[in-house]
Amino acid sequence: MVAELINANPVVYERKERRDPEHPYSLEQLNVVTEDSIEVNDEKSHVRVTFTPTVEHCSMATIIGLCLRVKLIRSLPSRYKVDIRIAPGTHATEATVNKQLNDKERVAAALENLTLLEVIEDCLSPTFA
């Protein structure tokens, strides 16, 4: 019933038509982030995401974490505090990366770097389709 009503909306209809079926593997498909690894506490407005890099020396770990953070900042109401961590024992420089990801100023600085921002936008664009 609801779906039918939504389809009655010309805006939705057009967008569905334009959607590109091809997209690369997502973090879910790679099991980097799973539903179990996300804890949400709605009352206390707190979210914690624990992700698992594919290999111990994964150079993308920081970028993945940054993407997760940006995606959450943009998708969640501002009342939430977001905590992003690497699963214990799955990365060589776990502590450093964790520190980087949860330091507000460092994140802000990273997002001011245009090259880095472009990479993140590229990563996130399919999720906003």
């Binding site: 609801v2 009655a8 909306n9 010309p10 805006v11 939705v12 109401p77 906003f128």
Partner: protein, 1005 residues
């Protein structure tokens, strides 16, 4: 002719085994070229090579022979005279006994055997000698893989190309082949050897002593390979795969019926193997063997086959839900699924093949099988635990499928006897009548019965038809007659609709029975005042009108049955009027009316006039109905009717339903009296009467031939009278004064007028304008300056009147399925909605402008009317006018959103807005009013009363992010603020849309 010295080095090079293989090949190629170009004759070559071919050094001899053979194999397209071929054949045949030089001999023989027709081939006698020599000297299994393969190829060629030469060898041939293939292990060689067996057996025409004698031995060799099991070489395309091998072996198994005594026990034995691939293979082989071995041989295995198949079918249901986690379990699942499918197809083949002229052994086996009965009985009597229901569903499905397959054969080819057919039907119908608590089985059985029924070609004139109608149709109908069976009514109705749908005859019988039941329950409900009977009658009527009637009309047009039923219902009413009983259940009247409408609508004109006449006689016999002709002089008071006679309301409503469903050409008796009566009831707030009036006006013949319709009025006169009366009453001060007496009838009277307007509008009559103007007046009446003097009660009455008038526009514009629809033969002018829209929109827009300064409460009704008009007009028409309406539409949405009760209207208007947003011109007009639109959407994003409104508003905002950058950029922060709040929405869909919207607007920076 080439000098020997020019090519002898090639021979030397080849014979020297210490040289690299590439040089060997090169030397052969060079010599072949010489021969092909006639620079060297084959005979010369042989003569010059004599030393190499006959020397006692076996290394040199074997290389020499191989050289000659290789050259020979490369000149297949060069014609050779029969003498040289014969010479060479004799030479290579003799060399077969030379085990040390066997390779060359085999290659040579093969090259000769493969030569094609006109280029010179081996004579039959030579070929036979070759074969004999082969069987005498070549011990295939003691050779290397390559030589074995060559040997099989030689045999293959012999059997394929020279069957006449070898078939006379008889024993010797079969024995030789057995010996050659026995204990073979290489997959490629096995492929060849399986084919060899198949070909050699086919060489001997079927009843052949020879094959019979050898069948056991040959099968013993073959049986060692079943089931084919090997895991070697996945990716290599050149080599045989397991499937290839299995197929080749299957063909060998099927090559002669003589294998039957050995093959069938083996296959049945392997069927119970724990290895799934073995099971699958056994089933496939069994299916094929059934076809190839023939009924005579297979009949004696029937029982064993059935027992084994049954086990497989019961433990591997073909349907399984796909709840899979890992890949390996998916694989097993797939194999199990295949086994189930293969088992069913095997069963099907068995049923087709295992028949003998006198009795259907196999089918009887199935039907008599205790397990089948038990399975059924198990489900029938015990029920089962939920955990295993999936398996049982699969089994049941398979079982019922089998029964259905059996029962749906065309009569002449039917594999089952009539009594078995009867048994099947009986089993199914008993499930349907008794076992209703198992929903799955019940539905399955009912569907199957329906399908069996539809497969009967002629239900009157065939044995099956008779059995079916005696067993199934009668049982189904009796369900309606007996009240005390435990089967719930809704299921009973499902049964009769399914059974009735199969053909005309059962349908008529079901309709008849249903009719009886309906009449019975109506009289019970009305005379004895039993509520449960009324409820039963409602269900029966719904089943009759919604399920059976449409199907019946596709089977036969204009059947008398419908007329008779309609008249019968009227007579029922007549007796009720006489008995003066009160009828309390309103739902019953609604169902009766709907049934009556559908009945009448599916009749022809003559039949309709019959019904109308009968109904009119009954209605006009009632004293206290206002049945005088309508006259302009009659006072309002005369029109008033005393309240509280529900049976009369019933009669008028029912009569109205007849009128609503009439075809335009059907004549009405005493139109003037009817018009009067319907007007009176309209003004009393009886919607059916209003609909009937609208229907009469809508279908009034337009050609001016009035005489047959009414002797009193022309069409225009009639309209004038109706409108005048309505306007006088509805705008009189007493009507207004009583309006707020919390009585729906006044509101209904306004709606009734709207129905009349709809009728006129649909046929394109201009008088609809008067009605529209009346409604507009009502709308604006609450906003006149004199209202200041009115007291609160009157104010409320006025505003309620205005709201009803606004809602009248929805009624006029929207499609309805109770009246004035295509089904009820309404006259419809094309594009009438668009016409109405474009004539009304300027008036409404100017009123909106005029009252722009008024209090929002007053403007709400105006906007409500506007909203109803816009949202019911086809989108294209609205979009074309978008330049005029966008600002008003936005304003309208803004004001309507202040009130909870307008939420559906808001949603439809929002859809209109999004439609405009998708149009090229529409976009421009939105852009012109971008501030207004964004302000509105930013509010609607948080609209608390309807999730769809919030979601659609966000979607519109996303779409708007594509408008020209310079226009939207200033709005960016406002939108983002609004959307950020929407991120915290309590509905997931809205949050998701909000994320998209936020991203879209954040990225335009």
């Amino acid at each position: 002719m080439a000098n020997p010295s020019s090519w002898t080095p090639h021979v030397e090079a080849f014979v020297d085994t210490s040289r690299p293989p590439s040089e060997h090949v090169a030397s052969i190629e060079a010599t072949t070229k010489l021969v092909n170009n006639d620079l060297l004759s084959l005979l010369d070559l042989v003569k010059e090579m004599e030393m190499y071919l006959t020397t006692s050094d076996h290394v040199i001899r074997s290389r020499g022979i191989l050289f000659l053979a290789e050259v020979l194999a490369r000149i297949t397209s060069k014609p050779l005279d029969s003498v040289s071929v014969s010479c060479l054949a004799e030479f290579f045949t003799s060399r077969l006994s030379d085990w040390q030089a066997l390779r060359g001999a085999l290659v040579g023989c093969l090259a000769l055997l493969r030569r094609k027709g006109s280029l010179g081939t081996i004579a039959i006698s030579n070929a036979r000698k070759l074969a004999q020599s082969f069987f005498m000297y070549v011990q295939v299994q003691s050779l290397t893989v390559n030589d074995r393969k060559l040997s099989f190829e030689v045999l293959h060629c012999l059997l394929e190309e020279y069957p006449d030469a070898v078939v006379v060898l008889g024993d010797e041939l079969l024995y030789g082949i057995c010996e050659a293939v026995d204990e073979e292990k290489d997959p490629d060689c096995l492929m060849l050897s399986f084919q060899l067996v198949e070909i050699v057996i086919r060489l001997f025409p079927d009843p052949s002593d020879l094959v019979t004698r050898f069948a056991g031995d040959i099968f013993e060799i073959l049986s060692k390979y079943f089931p084919v099991y090997f895991t070697h070489g996945g990716g290599d395309e050149l080599h045989a795969t397991r499937d290839d091998l299995s197929r080749a072996l299957m063909n060998a198994f099927c090559s002669t019926p003589n294998f039957e005594p050995f093959a069938i026990p083996l296959l049945l034995d392997k069927l119970s193997s724990s290895l799934q691939s073995a099971k699958l293979d056994s089933l496939k082989y069994l299916t094929n063997c059934l076809r190839c071995y023939g009924a005579d041989r297979m009949l004696k295995h029937s029982k064993a086959i059935w027992l084994n198949l049954k086990d497989v079918i019961f433990s591997f249901p073909p349907q399984r839900p796909l709840v899979l986690t890992t890949e390996s379990s998916q694989d097993t699942e797939r194999v199990e699924h295949q086994i189930g499918k293969e088992a069913l197809s095997c069963l099907q083949t068995a049923m087709l093949c295992l028949t003998s002229p006198d009795k259907d052994v196999f089918i009887n086996l199935i039907l008599e099988d205790e397990d089948v009965v038990k399975r059924f009985g198990f489900v029938l009597n015990e029920g089962y635990s939920v955990g295993t229901s999936v398996d049982i569903h699969g089994q049941l499905n398979a079982l019922v499928k089998v029964l259905q397959t059996l029962a749906t054969f065309p009569e002449h080819y039917s594999p089952i006897s009539e009594s078995v057919y009867h048994d099947i039907l009986l089993m199914l119908i008993s499930v349907v009548t008794c076992k209703y608590d198992d929903v799955y089985l019940w539905n399955l059985s009912l569907k199957t019965l329906g399908q069996i029924g539809s497969s009967i070609e002629d239900i009157h004139d065939s044995a099956k038809g008779t059995i079916y109608s005696r067993t199934v149709v009668e049982r189904a109908i009796s369900l309606l007659q007996v009240d005390d069976t435990a089967l719930p009514l809704s299921l009973k109705l499902d049964v009769v609709s399914e059974i009735g749908a199969i053909a005309l005859d059962p349908m008529s019988r079901v309709l008849k029975a249903l009719e009886e039941a309906i009449v019975f329950h109506i009289s019970k409900a009305c005379v004895d005042g039993r509520t449960e009977s009324a409820e039963t009658a409602i269900c029966l009527l719904e089943c009759y009108s919604c399920k059976l009637l449409p199907r019946f009309c596709t089977l036969q047009d204009f059947d008398e049955v419908l007329v008779l039923f309609a008249i019968r219902l009227w007579e029922q009413m007549e007796s009720l009027v006489a008995s003066k009983n009160e009828i309390k259940v309103q739902g019953l009247l609604d169902s009766l009316m709907m049934t009556m409408k559908l009945l009448v609508a599916s009749c022809s004109e003559e039949q309709q006039s019959l019904i109308v006449k009968r109904a009119y006689t009954i209605v006009s016999a009632v004293k206290c109905l206002p049945l005088q002709p309508f006259s302009p002089s009659s006072k309002l008071e005369e029109l008033r009717i005393s309240p509280g006679f529900s049976i009369h309301n019933w009669l008028v409503s029912l009569f109205a339903s007849v009128v609503i469903a009439l075809r335009p050409q059907t004549t009405l008796p005493d139109v003037d009296i009817l018009l009067n009566m319907f007007i009176v009831f309209l003004l009393e707030g009886q919607l059916p009467a209003a609909q009937a009036l609208a229907s009469i006006l809508n279908k009034w013949p337009s050609n001016g031939n009035i005489s047959e319709l009414s002797s009193v009025y022309t069409f225009d006169q009639a309209i004038d009278l109706v409108l005048e009366k309505c306007f006088t009453v509805l705008s009189s001060s007493s009507f207004l004064a009583n309006f707020y007496s919390s009585n729906d009838s006044k509101i209904n009277a306004i709606a009734g007028l709207a129905w009349v307007g709809k009728g006129l509008l649909m046929r394109g009559h201009e008088k609809v304008k008067e009605i529209t103007m009346f409604f507009l007046k009502c709308l604006l009446s609450s906003q006149n300056s004199e209202i200041m003097q009115l007291n609160q009660k009157e104010l409320d009455a006025r505003s309620l009147l205005a709201t009803s008038a606004a809602d009248a526009f929805q009624l006029i514009m929207s499609d309805s399925d109770v009246c004035l629809s295509k089904q009820f033969h309404a006259t419809t002018k094309p594009l009438y909605k668009q016409r109405f829209f474009s004539s009304l929109i300027p008036v409404l827009l100017s009123s909106v402008k005029e009252y722009a300064t008024m209090n929002t409460n007053y403007r709400t009704v105006l906007y409500r009317a506007f909203g109803h008009l816009i949202s019911n007009t086809p989108l294209a028409a609205v979009v074309a006018e978008s330049h005029k309406i966008v600002p008003t539409l936005v304003d309208c949405l803004g004001i309507l959103s202040l009130n909870t009760q307008n939420k559906d209207l808001i949603y439809s208007l929002l859809l209109v807005l999004s439609g405009i947003l998708m149009d090229k011109n529409g976009k421009e007009h939105i852009t012109e009013n971008i501030h207004l639109v964004i302000n509105l959407l930013a509010k609607l994003v948080l609209y608390p009363h309807m999730m769809l409104v919030r979601e659609t508003a966000l979607q519109c905002l996303v779409a708007m992010s594509g408008l020209p950058h310079s226009r939207i950029y200033p709005m960016r922060l406002q939108v983002l603020r609004a959307v950020t709040k929407a991120l915290d929405d309590k509905k997931w869909a809205v949050r998701q849309e909000a994320v998209r919207c936020r991203q879209a607007w954040a990225s335009i920076a």
